[in-house]
């Protein structure tokens, strides 16, 4: 099976076959990561640029480790918001990097659609490392990978995504990913943070966490942006946490073997109580380690077209 795509921009455009190919490739990559010499020459001679317009040490480090394990030449380019305002356009920045020989550009941007602009205008392969409120494909793929590893099969699972659905790229990518692989997807949060017409994405909408958690196999807790509190979206973190925070007591409503996920960084005591974060059901640290294997797979597939996995 060959991966035909030059870019990985979002889960929405991937079909089940393509998603499974990424996950299978990630499984091989995970083996590499467990060896003594954690390095393969797959991307030797390829320059990969991490172009980050938002500070995100975690995602960037994870990509960087993945790139180095594939023997790529890595260039990190982190631009603070202020230097963007002063300077050149996104396209000019990216064209410069391309001229330096970037074969793959991994982009994180605060505005939805930015990776699409690069894919339209450049020759390099583009990997979306998170764009605005739109998609975060590497996060969703590592979530899928983690759950597939634990549960064996995604089809038929009940997946609940909790919190700020409106502004969350993690939510959108996970919705598409879990739906493609046959899970039931539920979203729950304050009504102000559940966007209009989300039900047309084929998800079930809930406004009380307790109801949404019935029979849940997977719970994905979204991070709450601190600046949303006290705004018109909800009155306070205390109230948010009371209604939508996950406590051990609420977690009992879900299935016994429920897996609790969080894309990090966690606001302890807000989205998750500490006891839940450190619980046996929590797979948060598996997510982090699987992230490297999944990102290796993404890089490898776009750069090499999936030959000789």
């Amino acid at each position: 099976m060959v991966f035909q795509r030059k870019h990985i921009l979002g889960l929405e455009e991937l079909d089940a076959r393509e998603i499974n190919l990424v996950l299978d490739t990630a499984a091989s990559m995970k083996e590499v990561s467990e060896r003594d010499v954690k390095k393969v020459p797959a991307l030797k001679g390829t320059t990969v640029v991490n172009l980050f317009f938002e500070p995100s040490t975690r995602t960037r480090s994870s990509f960087e480790i993945a790139e180095k394990r594939l023997s790529a030449d890595v260039l990190n380019f982190t631009l603070s918001q202020s230097s963007v305002i002063k300077g050149e356009t996104l396209l000019d920045t990216a064209r410069n990097l391309e001229a330096m020989g970037a074969g793959v550009i991994v982009i994180r941007h605060s505005m939805s659609g930015a990776p699409w602009l690069l894919a339209k205008e450049l020759h390099s392969s583009i990997i979306n490392a998170g764009d605005g409120s739109h998609e975060h494909p590497s996060q969703a793929l590592l979530d899928l990978f983690t759950i597939r590893e634990i549960k064996g099969e995604i089809g038929g699972l009940v997946v609940v995504i909790v919190g700020d659905i409106r502004h969350s790229r993690v939510a959108r990518s996970n919705i598409w990913g879990f739906l493609r692989l046959g899970a039931e997807v539920r979203v729950v949060g304050p009504a102000t943070l559940i966007p209009k017409e989300i039900e047309y994405m084929d998800v079930k909408v809930f406004y009380t966490l307790e109801e949404a958690l019935k029979d849940a196999d997977v719970v994905i807790m979204l991070r709450i942006q601190m600046e949303r509190q006290g705004s018109e979206y909800f009155p306070s973190l205390r109230e948010y946490s009371k209604f939508y925070g996950l406590s051990r007591e609420k977690l009992r409503i879900a299935k016994d073997d429920v897996s609790v996920m969080h894309p990090g960084p966690i606001n302890r005591g807000v989205e998750l109580s500490s006891e839940v974060a450190d619980d046996v059901n929590s797979v948060i640290l598996d997510q982090v380690s699987n992230g490297i294997a999944v990102r290796m797979a993404m890089l490898y597939l776009v750069a090499s077209g999936g030959r000789n996995v």
Binding site: L91, S112, G113, A114, R169, K196, Y200
Partner: protein, 427 residues
């Protein structure tokens, strides 16, 4: 110079005319409709256009364009905007005041009119701002701008959010008998929205602008028009609810008129997929249901005019992140063929369409155009309703190539545009 237009199908809704006739133009005016042309054709001093098989109507009047001059000459100038208008069959352009400086005083109005006289090949009628700097706080020099030639007032692009200021603007302008043109939008409800709020904004992760953002201000302005008795004109109607509100207001006898754009009757918000910034426009392109309502509104007369909201931008400005791209569509050169689809799709008759492009907008801004009666200024367009072509935005005369209709196969082609008896465009 004399001009004889022979054997065209004359459609002139101002006089309820639709028949094949000859038109003689002398000294820039419609001189006569000669039944016999043999002698005239032999006269060397008369230019002849054979319009057999073509439609001849009053020149189109676009009551909502952005000519960008002064201040944004990299987007458009009065010269290029007028050339684009002529190529689209427009003989009169009504230009919005959000230039730099803003047209909020008579000296800017005079500058625009002077430039238009020197460089513009079609007529230009400016709209003055409602408030100083379009800031929504204090009244612009409305009386002096009226004296200088403004045919209406509007803070287009920036709604007057303070209802008290809007009320007083309406009261103040009423004796001048020019319309208040409302860009109906509640900026708070629009928030950081960049497209229609709904399934597609969700999917794209882009901020949504709800229909209510337009409708609450349409409702407010209708209420204020009733209070003040002013002539209120609602610009670029984009939602089903606005159509309902305007229909109801008209039924109650309130002085309200309205316009719709070709893009709002032909596209849905799906056009934004792929982050196409050429489909980023304010008000945003809405849903199929809204399109249906606007079409019904055109049909039953709730919506009086078709106007393009021609909003040219440079390529560089549009080739950026969707959130950063400016709102606007370059509309002058696709208006006729897009609007003709309303005829082929059975929404309007050709006569009704021409009425909404000529006589009705002339009435709304109260200018002596939009008719072919004897003695009228000879502003005409001759077009072929059957001729097919493919839209190539790079061939626009406008500096703004920002069109979501690029590559569309359309029918309807302007052959001649005539202003004051002079041919200003021929295909």
């Amino acid at each position: 110079m004399k001009l004889l237009i022979k054997s065209g199908r004359i459609i002139d809704p101002s006089r309820n005319i639709d028949r094949v006739e000859n038109i003689l133009i002398e000294e820039g005016k419609i001189s006569s409709y000669p039944a016999e042309t043999k002698k005239l054709e032999k006269d060397k001093k008369i230019n002849l256009i054979d319009a057999s098989g073509k439609t001849v109507s009053p020149g189109f009047i676009d009551m909502h364009v952005h000519l960008r001059e002064p201040g944004y000459e990299h987007k458009e100038t009065i010269r290029t905007g007028c050339e684009a208008g002529a190529a689209g069959g427009f003989t009169s352009l009504v230009c919005m005041p959000n230039t730099n400086p803003i047209n909020d005083n008579a000296s800017v109005t005079e500058y625009i009119l002077l430039k238009a006289r020197k460089e513009g090949i079609v007529n230009v009628f400016p709209i003055g701002a409602i408030t100083k700097g379009e800031k929504g706080e204090s009244l612009a020099q409305i009386g002096e701008m009226f004296e200088a030639g403004c045919v209406g007032i509007s803070d287009d692009g920036m709604p007057v959010m303070n209802s008290k200021v809007m009320r007083h603007a309406m009261e103040y302008v009423r004796p001048f008998n020019i319309p208040v043109i409302s860009h109906a939008e509640d900026k708070n409800l629009s928030g950081n929205g960049v497209m229609n709020e709904g399934f597609f904004s969700n999917k794209l992760g882009l901020g949504g602008i709800p229909n209510a953002s337009e409708e609450v201000i349409v409702a407010r302005d209708i209420t204020l028009a009733e209070l003040t008795g002013v002539h209120l004109h609602i610009a670029h109607v984009s939602t089903a609810g606005s159509v309902r509100l305007i229909r109801e207001a008209k039924a109650r006898g309130i002085r309200v008129t309205a316009e719709a754009t070709p893009h709002h009757v032909m596209l849905t918000d799906e056009a934004v997929l792929g982050y196409d910034t050429n489909a980023k426009v304010n008000p945003p392109i809405r849903t199929a249901e809204d399109v249906e309502f606007i079409r019904d509104g055109l049909k039953d007369g709730t919506i009086d005019a078709i106007a393009t909201d021609h909003a040219p931008h440079s390529e560089d400005e549009k080739k950026v992140e969707f959130d950063l791209a400016p709102f606007g569509i370059s509309g002058l050169e696709t208006a006729l063929p897009i609007s003709l689809k309303l005829v082929t799709e059975g929404v309007l008759t050709l006569n009704q369409l021409i009425e909404k492009l000529t006589f009705n907008p002339a009435q709304i801004v109260n200018i002596d155009r939009g008719t072919l009666m004897v003695g009228a200024k000879a502003d005409l367009v001759i077009f072929d309703t059957e001729k097919a072509f493919t839209v190539d935005r790079m061939k626009f005369r406008s500096k703004g190539k920002n069109s979501p209709f690029h590559g569309w196969k359309l029918t309807g082609h302007v052959e001649y545009t005539i202003v004051g008896g002079e041919i200003v465009y021929s295909a």
